[in-house]
Symmetry: C2
């Protein structure tokens, strides 16, 4: 069976010194003599000592852990964010606990509570599709545990958030499609209550308006951007008379599925219908024609969010002063939307 754990008491007894000295020695506290420190470290190694995070966290009243709640893990974007966050938190000596909600509010709330009980020192979160309020974060707010939202945030909340300018991106994509001569632009997106989709839609709407193109509600398709939904959306597009001349999808994978179905039905891309996606996933360069999209700097968002949190935890800045941080983003034009050669 499991052997007895080695503790600082064992080290202390072994060396004939006190546990406080051992504790300080292991923390490299300069107050303990260099030689003693070395002896402690050596003894620890030799005895097979392992640090007990529980005892430490219990006593110190902090976990040295940051919680991360994401809506999904399966996109390039989110793994980039993860990389950015990890880079910063690891460097700052924090551990990271990742929880994902699979786009479900229920799971998100459960994870939020769980991480609260795990006593994370801070939280970074991207909300699920159907999250409508932030009441499940209330315990954090009450206890003064910092929470930073990124990408999928709640609008009109005065919590710190790191986002891109979704409105501008939506506007840019639409403007680009219009400049390619498109006038009947379908917009396939998800729950408009979620900021990223709502804002992009507003950009789309305003771009149409500014170009004197009437908004046609029939061209707005809201679904969950899954493979199945995307296929159905593509079929629906085919049934619209006259055929639309562009599709702006707020997700690259969904756009790829659309392109596929449209092509299967003899529609030429971008000749008949120009298509644009969102996120700049790896898939963009695989589909034919290659997909116009918006590049979304995941790694930067992750780094910025994590750095803000870490700085706050170390007392270097105060989150209450910064509300929204907007990260640059960029329209990337590829063949799927190019109808005019300049």
């Amino acid at each position: 069976m499991t052997k007895k754990e080695v503790t600082i008491y064992d080290i202390a007894r072994n060396l004939g010194i006190s546990t406080s000295t051992v504790s300080r020695g292991l923390q490299n506290d300069p107050v303990v003599n260099k030689n003693t420190r070395k002896k402690i470290v050596d003894a620890a190694k030799e005895l097979g000592y392992r640090y007990n995070n529980f005892a430490s966290s219990l006593r110190k009243q902090q976990s040295n852990t940051i919680g991360l709640i994401v809506h999904e893990l399966n996109s390039n974007f989110i793994t980039s964010v993860l990389a950015g966050i990890e880079k910063v938190t690891t460097a700052a000596g924090y551990d990271l606990i990742i929880a994902h909600s699979s786009e479900s509010y229920t799971k998100e709330a459960a994870n939020t509570l769980n991480l609260f009980h795990k006593r994370v020192d801070g939280l970074i979160a991207s909300l699920a599709f159907d999250t409508n309020d932030l009441s499940h974060f209330q315990p954090y707010f009450d206890k003064g545990i910092p929470v930073i939202f990124f990408d999928r945030v709640e609008e009109n909340s005065n919590h710190t958030s790191v986002v891109i300018d979704n409105y501008k991106c939506g506007y840019q994509v639409t403007q680009h499609l219009i400049e390619q001569g498109c006038k009947r632009i379908v917009h396939i997106t998800a729950n408009l209550k979620r900021n990223v989709y709502g804002q992009r839609y507003r950009g789309y709407k305003d771009a149409l308006f500014d170009n004197g193109i009437p908004l046609d509600k029939k061209l707005l398709l809201v679904n969950d951007l899954s493979e199945k939904a995307s296929k159905e959306a593509a079929l629906q597009i085919l049934s619209i008379k006259p055929l639309p001349d562009a599709v702006f999808v707020t997700n690259d994978f969904a756009a790829a599925v659309c392109i596929q179905i449209l092509k299967e039905h003899g529609v030429s891309i971008p000749g008949d219908i120009a298509v644009a996606g969102f996120n700049n996933d790896a898939i963009c360069k695989i589909v034919e024609p290659q997909l116009t999209t918006v590049d979304y700097p995941g790694i930067d968002m992750g780094e910025i969010a994590a750095r803000s949190l870490v700085n706050h935890l170390k007392g270097l800045n105060n989150l209450k002063q910064t509300n929204t941080i907007i990260v640059r983003s960029e329209l990337i034009i590829r063949a799927s939307s190019l109808r005019k050669t300049h």
Copy 2:
């Protein structure tokens, strides 16, 4: 600032009972009276009590947490595994800490150690590309902490592992390509020391042998299956004279990139070169032609691995009795390899 934490002592004082009763009451121990239990739970809610995992874990000497080490997070396969694992661990009341190595042995070792210090009750792991030995898991073995490997495992080790029959899959794919009339089959794969690639290669080799096709070392391309490497591999294929008539890539994304480059150079798929991938990622149905591949039951592997671990932890079975669990897998034939119509 952070208000003082509410503890079971506060609840006890409030109700004029002892902490032991409170503790038992909160655990729903039937030994405490129903009414008292209700009073405790109510008081806890009212006072804003939150359970302290650290105190509990410290005392109980267990974390109720399972560690998961994966090589990456960005594939469909791995997120399926994750879903399977989560389903089981959540149901069994365990928390999950996910760590990913980004295919780096160094990070894998660091994560392994970190989870060890976090005192996970058990570990589920899929190894990185370049992991050659299991010495970083030694602390677990020494302490008797169960470790289950899945997918990317170390061969010839007598640790419990959950895998598919990679040899058979490699054989099947190759056999299928041969049956389509291919004779010069390129094999693009990664580090052959890693079981999944080594076994598939052996299947490839044996299928060739059994069909009387000589093994041509020039047709074996080993790289890291990244986008860049796949492009280079495709260009390399184009330079082989005479042109090969099939490519078996051990990763769908890499296969997709290859197809793209080959097509750009006027190669017809599958007419000139038949292509097969591995994993049955969503991308398979996006590329043109749709990609022949091997379906890999991620969710099952996750469930099986997690269930074995959980059962072991609960004392329901003993891992030392089960060594290797093989999960079913299936060749999925699509247009990218179909040269003959039956």
